[in-house]
Symmetry: C2
Subunit: 147 residues, 2 copies
DNA sequence: TCAATCTTGATGCAATTGCATTTATATGTG
DNA sequence: CACATATAAATGCAATTGCATCAAGATTGA
């Protein structure tokens, strides 16, 4: 890796980080204004909604969402308290259980979606027009088939 | 904004978020392994290093780094406790002060840089080769001069 | 000038996170 | 089977964050 590639990676990273930060702020604040749960809860609800009746084991969710184990453990407890998911013992593994989205959970997920979608659309369009995005784009264009 | 653009924005957002998450994990863990301060501290030290002897007011730093006021206030207190920055009353504004990087602060910032740079280089190259990046790239390419 | 308003920065308190450890079950090996 | 090791999930405790509010100095404007 040459020096100039390093510089580009760092610039790209700064662009990526700033775009992310702006987007998270915009999305969280849109959800909060609408008195809806946070982005993190949305991600959990979405995965469980996609998983359907079979649900997902906490460790599966943990990997899909790149969350720390203890973090997920407590977040799912809170989401369960809110009534959006439920748990049932796993048939196959006495240590664990499956998390399943509830009817209320599906409802709230559906209510979050338009708010989330709109905030993403707006903030990403803004990002796309920024210098940060231009630098990231430069870096990404340079190569994209190592795997 | 058409429906298909919406779908692309969401896909792009997911790619952006995952790339960010992987990168943050990689960078933080590289810094931690090297017994160095976190990414957040690096950002502060870098800005103050760039600002030189004049330093920066907390509110300026807050805006540059997109941090919440209370968050920055406490973080700078911790960095000051660690001896990497110092504060001096502002000549122009009795409410505030300037934050200035110390010699030790410059030293630790310099020590962090190669670790940070290497982690960024590795993780961004990985990201660049991913499907997440491909989707983000598609979205970014579509348009980039709205402003 | 001085009261109303705004800006800068700190802080009490509750909620969340990070780290290390614990508990319980599963799996693999002799 | 019996033991060692690995995996799933929870939790005690300290550190950090988020929210709301506060205190102090700056600014505005009648």
């Amino acid at each position: 890796m040459t020096d100039s590639e390093d510089v580009n990676a760092t610039d790209a990273w700064i662009g990526l980080a700033r775009g992310h930060s702006h987007a998270v702020d915009a999305i969280e604040s849109a959800l909060k204004s609408a008195a809806l749960p946070s982005l993190a809860w949305y991600d959990v609800l979405l995965e469980l909604d996609k998983a359907g009746g079979k649900g997902l084991r906490p460790f599966e969710l943990e990997r899909k969402l790149l969350l720390a184990q203890y973090n997920l453990s407590r977040m799912t407890a809170r989401i369960e308290d809110a009534g959006y998911i439920s748990r049932r013992p796993s048939q196959h593994d006495g240590r664990g259980f499956e998390l399943v989205i509830t009817k209320t959970g599906r409802k709230i997920r559906a209510a979050m979606w338009p708010v989330y979608k709109k905030a993403v659309g707006t903030t990403l369009a803004e990002f796309r027009a920024s210098k940060d995005a231009a630098r990231l784009l430069d870096y990404l264009k340079a190569n994209n088939n190592t795997d």
